[in-house]
Amino acid sequence: MSGEIIGTYATAIFLLIGAGFVAVGVIGLLKFNDPMTRLHAPTKVGTVGIGALLVASIIHSYTLGDSSYHELLILAFLFVTAPISANFIAKVNIHLGTCETPPQPDRDDTWATLETPDEEIAKS
C-alpha cells in the first residue's frame, strides 16, 4: 500500500505548510503596530495558508478513495472575496485617519471614498 503511505505523507506536509503560513499571519497581526500594515499579514499569508490546508484535504480524500473537489470551489470563492474585505478595511482606515494620509491622485481630484457629494445633490 505504498500509494496510501505517499498520500498520508503528502497530506501531512501540506498541513504543516498551511499551518505554518497561518501561524505567520497571526504573528504579523500581533506584531505590527499600525492598522494598515496589520492588514497585510492576515489577508495575504492567509491565501497560501488556507490554500495549502485545502490541498491537504483534497489529497486526503483521494487516499481514502472518496475523491472530493469542493475545496477548489472554496479556494475560488476565497480568492474572489478576500480582496473586497481588505478593500473595505483599508477605506475605514483612511476615514478614521489611523494611517498616514494617502497622497493625492495624479490625474483626478480625489479618491472615491473621500469624495463629498455635490451640495445641490445633497440638498435635493
Binding site: 503560513f21 505567520v24 506584531k31 497585510h40 499569508v45 491565501t47 480582496p83 491622485p105 479618491w111
Partner: protein
C-alpha cells in the same frame, strides 16, 4: 441565428463558469450533471441580465489562463517574502508606503481584476480608486523604492490585462 444566440447566451463565459461550478458543487461528473449545469448556466444569466448590461467586448480565455498561472506563482513566491518580512524585519525598520498607480485600463472588469490581483499578491493592498477612475491607491508593506513597485504592477499585471480585455 446570431440574435437567437445573443438571446440564449448573453454571457457565454458566465454560462460555462456556472456549469463548472454546478458540477464541482455536485462533486460528480456525469452527462446528466453537465446538462443540468448548462441549463442553469443559461437560465441564471438570463434572469440576472439586468445587472449585466454590458459584455466586455473581447475576452481572451487563453491569455487569461496564463495570467492566472502567473498570479498563482506570484502569490506563492510573494507569500514567502512577506512571511520573511513578518518574521525578520523589526517594526522600527519597516517602511510602509502609499503608492499611486496611474491606470491605462478603462474597462471596469479589468480594473476590478487588477485591484484584486494587487490585493492577493502579498505585500500590496489596493485601497481605493480615484473619483474618475484614472488612478489606483495601493498600500505597500515594505519597500525602499516605491517607483519600482508601480513599474512592476504596470508591466507585470496591467500590460497583460490590457491584452486580455483588448
Amino acid at each position: 441565428m446570431a440574435r437567437a444566440y445573443q438571446w440564449l447566451l448573453p454571457h457565454p463565459f458566465l454560462t460555462l463558469l456556472l456549469a463548472i461550478v454546478w458540477i464541482l458543487l455536485q462533486n460528480e461528473f456525469s452527462a446528466g450533471m453537465a446538462v443540468f449545469g448548462i441549463i442553469l448556466g443559461i437560465i441564471i444569466p438570463r434572469m440576472t441580465s439586468i445587472w449585466w448590461p454590458d459584455t466586455p467586448n473581447s475576452f481572451r480565455l487563453r491569455k487569461m489562463a496564463s495570467y492566472s498561472l502567473i498570479v498563482m506563482w506570484d502569490i506563492v513566491v510573494a507569500n514567502i517574502q512577506v512571511a520573511w518580512i513578518v518574521l525578520s524585519v523589526p517594526n522600527s525598520k519597516l517602511k510602509p508606503a502609499w503608492v499611486v498607480v496611474p491606470l491605462d485600463l478603462v474597462q471596469p472588469e479589468a480594473i476590478t481584476m487588477l485591484a484584486g490581483t494587487i490585493t492577493l499578491t502579498p505585500g500590496t493592498v489596493s485601497a481605493d480608486l480615484s473619483d474618475k477612475g484614472h488612478s489606483l491607491l495601493v498600500h505597500v508593506l515594505h519597500t525602499d523604492d516605491p517607483d519600482s513597485v508601480v513599474e512592476e504592477i504596470k508591466t507585470r499585471y496591467e500590460a497583460r490585462l490590457k491584452e486580455i480585455f483588448a
